[in-house]
Structures are given as C-alpha cells and as structure tokens.
C-alpha cells in the first residue's frame, strides 16, 4: 500500500476540531487554541511527580493548559514557533520550548487573571466539542448506550447552568478555603 497517500490524507485532518478564541485581559489581547491529544499527553507527563491533591497541582495544571493553548499575545504570533531564545542568569543565550517560555510569563500573572483565562479555556472546549461533533458522521451502534451518554451530557449541562455567575471568584474562594484547611491541619 502507498504510505505517502496515507500520510497525505491523514495530514488533512490535523486541524479537525481545533478552534481559537480571542479575549482581552488587563489590556493584553490573548488568543487561545484548543489542544490536541498529544499536547494533553505532554501536559499529563509534566504533571507527573506533583502531589495530586494539593493546590500546587491545580495551579500547575491551569498554567500548563494555558501555556500550551496560548497562541497569540497582542501582536506576538506563537502558532508555528517551537522554541524561543532566552538569556539565562549567566547571560548565555539558550533555546527554550514555546510552552515553557509562555509558562514563565503567565506564572507572574495575578491569580484572578489566570482564573478568567482558564474560564475562557472552558468556553473554548465547549466550542471545540461542537465543531468536532459537526464533522463526525456515523450510525449509532447501541442506542441504549448512546442514550445513557446523552443523558449524562444533559445532566452535566444542567449542573453547569446551576453554577454561580462568577466562577473565577468561586474558584478563588475554594482555593482559599483549601489552603486554610491545610494550614489548620498542619
């Protein structure tokens, strides 16, 4: 069989289900792009070694998701960039990966700004799901399991609609409470 035809055909699907969302935060125009499975895998690898029930885990996860999904900051286009040069402490120039570069920038941002960005990433995921659903056609094999999946989705949406209007603040409150609990335990 012709492997080139296979690669060529499959390469047409690289951008399938990928969407971008633009918003402004503290005067900076940010564009987020939905992540591929490969990027999600790389994030989960980077999360290895971090204690999964601490605040650090949640914060690092948010930062990494955003570092991978930010593709534009104001006029700086990061879409096709793999690595960027940067001076280290000794003044020597070194190339670091784009996501590590963005990670270092956004970790200095205020927590509330990060929470807003992460909320926007949630919106992006919903749009991405809708886009992916539009592009995929198949006959349902098992109606029962499809109904139970759709029911789960309806329940999830119902749960979402009952959420408070300001999720960023709620997340912050939750983190604060968690930190207080930890302090009182120690």
């Amino acid at each position: 069989m012709d492997l080139n035809s296979l690669s060529e055909g499959l390469s047409q699907l690289i951008n399938y289900g990928k969407v971008e969302i633009s918003f402004t935060i503290q005067g900076i125009n940010v564009i987020l792009r939905s992540l591929s499975s490969d990027e999600e895998i790389r994030i989960s690898h980077k999360m290895n070694g971090i204690e999964s029930d601490g605040i650090e885990y949640l914060q690092t996860y948010k930062l990494l998701m955003l570092a991978y999904s930010i593709v534009q900051l104001n006029t700086i286009d990061l879409r096709d960039i793999v690595s960027l040069p940067r001076k280290d402490k000794s003044g020597k120039i070194e190339n670091i990966l784009k996501e590590d570069y963005v990670f270092d920038i956004i970790k200095t941002w205020a927590r509330s700004s990060l929470n807003v960005c992460f909320k926007k990433y949630g919106e992006l995921l919903a749009i991405s799901e809708r886009e992916a659903e539009k592009g995929i056609e198949f006959e349902i094999i098992d109606k029962k399991s499809e109904i139970s999946r759709l029911q789960a989705k309806i329940d999830e949406l119902k749960g979402d609609s009952s959420e408070p209007e300001h999720p960023a603040e709620t997340i912050f409150e939750e983190e604060k409470k968690e930190a207080e609990d930890k302090l009182s335990e120690s």
Partner: protein, 367 residues
C-alpha cells in the same frame, strides 16, 4: 378478483400448491432464523465486525479488535500506563481497517506508527467520541459471539467447517482481505474450530464404539441391546440439549459456560485474564466439552465391564450346571476363556474391542 387461470384445477394440484407454499414458508423461516448469525459469520469468516465513520469528509472503516491486538496495545502501553489519551489513541489506531479506501491492515508495521502520529493530533473530544463508538462495536461483537455454540449445531456451520477445515480462518483466501493473516484468530474463531474438531473426534469415536458393540454382540446380544438403548437415550438427551442451545433456551445448570462480559470493563477483565494465562471463556467451553466427552466414555466403559462380568457369570453358571464337561471349575473357566481368546484375540476387531474397553483408543484421540 382472483384470476381463474392461476387457480389449481383439481385436488392433486391443490395439494401440490399447498406443499409448495409450505416449503417456501419453511425456507423463509429458515432464512429468517439464520439471519441472526449474520454478524457472527462476519466475526468467524472475516475475523471482525466493521463500522463506517466519516470524519471531516474522510471515510474511515473501523473494525473490532481481537485478543492479540489488545495484547499489542498492552505492549505499547507498558511504559505509559497512566496516560488515558494514549490508551485511546492506540485503541483507535488498531481499530482502523480502511482510510479513504486504503486497506491499512496489509502493512501494519508501517501504517500503525503513521496512524498514531496523526491520531495524536485529534482533539481529546474526538478521541472520546470514537472510543465510545468502538466500545459499542466491540460489545456488539461480544453479543453476536454468544451465539457461536448455537451456530455450531446448525447444518450450515458443519457445511462451512467441511469447506474450510483445511485453511486457517484468517487466511486471505477465506477472508478476502489482505493482511488478516497477521491478525491472528479471535476468541470465537478459536471456539468454533475447537468445537468442530471435537465434533469430528466424537464422530470417529462413535464409529469405533459402534464397531466394538457389534463385536460384543457376539458374546452377549442382550447386554449390547441394553447398551444400545442407553446409547439411544444418551443421544436423544444430547440432541435435546443441542436443540435447547441452538434455539436459545439455554440452562446454566447444564454446565455449559458462556461469556459473561456485558460491559467494557468486563471485556477488559476477560482479556486481562487471558493475558495473565488464566482460563478464559474459550478455555472453559472447550474444557467443559472435553469433560463431557470423557464422562460419556467412562459411562460406556462401565457398560462394557458389565457385559464382561455378565459373560463370566454365564460361564460360572454353565460350570455349575454341567460339571461333567470339566475337570474342575477353574479349569473349565480357563478352558472357555482360552477358546474365546484363540478365536478372537488376534483379529483386528477383537483388538479394537480390547483397546476400547481399556480406554486406550479414546485416550489417544483425546491427547
């Protein structure tokens, strides 16, 4: 209005018409009945079930996986056991049979890495969506696979077995798909082959048993007649049981073990069991069947022993009734046995009788 020209002219024509109609109805009923095996026949004679999916305008044909392919996925996952997405990526890559008209099974060593490279670029939602669909497809395969034992008792199955027993079921000559020879056999193919092989062994054994009974009838026709009737009862019971399985009225207490996987987790557990070397459904079915055949053999052997004992008691009786014929009871017994031995021992049929009675013949076949 009924067209008179189409009506039968006399009673004989009427009965012929009715007979034809009955035959046609019977044929339709049989065809409808065999329709329930459509998916199973795909699983047995192609090796998998397929499903068509169109992604962003590109046609994919997905297939069900067999235990060997799950094993391959496990090899890939060995270093990355924690990655949920990676598991899905390999599951999807191994499930692709055709992409845009290209058969990717024919050169899997090269196509799998390419497929993985591009599937990794899919969004996590697409992966989840496809994984759900493929899980449903694999579950459908399990549901259809449950009929494998019932299918074995249909005439069409034995006919297919006679046509295909010289080939492996994944041979491209059978499947008409290039690359299936590298997939190995699925569980249902193995079960179907094992049950048919055992049926062949059983037929040979029955043939030998009939020969042995024929020889034994020379010594004790009454005893053989009673064995015959017990054989007939056994055959009737077996036929009844097979009919129950074939028609779906299955009784669990009969000891026939069936697949119990209803969910993906149960399917995974079953595969893990097979990977760990523990007994799976296929092993249990074959083991139960073997055990049943062995039990039948023991029963038959016991009947044969009873005949031999009866023969001895007849000899003893003759000694008591006609003591003048013999010097002593022991001598008489030996003399009679010697005469029987001289007459029959060296003949091939006597050899068969002796070997069957000692259980040698059967044991060899089973081994």
């Amino acid at each position: 209005m009924i067209d008179k020209s189409e009506q039968p002219e006399n009673v004989s024509d009427l009965s012929t018409e009715r007979y034809k109609r009955q035959k046609q109805e019977q044929q339709h009923r049989k065809e409808r009945w065999l329709c329930r095996y459509t998916d199973l026949e795909e699983i047995l004679f192609k090796g998998f079930l397929i499903h068509f999916v169109r992604i962003n305008g590109y046609n994919f044909v997905f297939k069900t996986l067999n235990a060997n392919e799950f094993e391959h996925i496990r090899y890939h996952m060995h270093l990355d056991q924690e990655s949920y997405y990676l598991n899905q990526i390999y599951f999807i890559a191994y499930s692709i049979f055709m992409f845009d008209g290209l058969n990717v099974l024919s050169n899997r060593t090269h196509t799998i890495p390419i497929l993985i490279k591009y599937i990794k670029q899919f969004s996590p939602y697409t992966l989840t969506c496809l994984s759900h669909l493929l899980s449903d497809l694999n579950n459908k395969c399990i549901q259809s696979g449950r009929l494998v034992e019932a299918y074995c008792y249909e005439d069409v199955s034995r006919q297919k077995w006679l046509e295909m027993k010289l080939f492996l079921l994944n041979d491209p000559n059978i499947t008409s798909i290039d690359g299936t020879q590298n997939l190995g056999l699925n569980t249902y193919q193995k079960v179907w082959m094992s049950l048919n092989n055992l049926e062949d062994t059983k037929i040979t054994y029955e043939h030998e048993w009939e020969n042995a009974k024929f020889i034994a009838s020379a010594f004790n026709s009454k005893g053989v007649r009673s064995i015959n009737s017990s054989d007939q009862r056994r055959k009737d019971a077996e036929q009844k049981e097979r009919e129950l399985i074939r028609t779906g009225g299955v009784r669990e207490e009969d000891g026939i073990i069936r697949i119990e996987a209803n969910t993906n987790e149960e399917l995974m557990e079953q595969l893990e069991k097979s990977i760990r070397g523990e007994k799976d459904w296929h092993d249990n079915v074959v083991e139960t069947y073997e055990l049943k055949v062995k039990e039948d053999h023991i029963k038959k052997q016991e009947s044969l022993d009873a005949i031999l004992k009866e023969r001895e008691s007849i000899i003893e009786k003759e000694i008591v009734e006609n003591p003048r014929k013999f010097y002593s009871a022991e001598e008489a017994k030996n003399s009679l046995s010697e005469r029987i031995k001289q007459k029959y021992e060296e003949t091939p049929s006597m050899k068969i009788l002796r070997e069957v009675s000692e259980g040698k013949r059967f044991v060899e076949k089973i081994k």
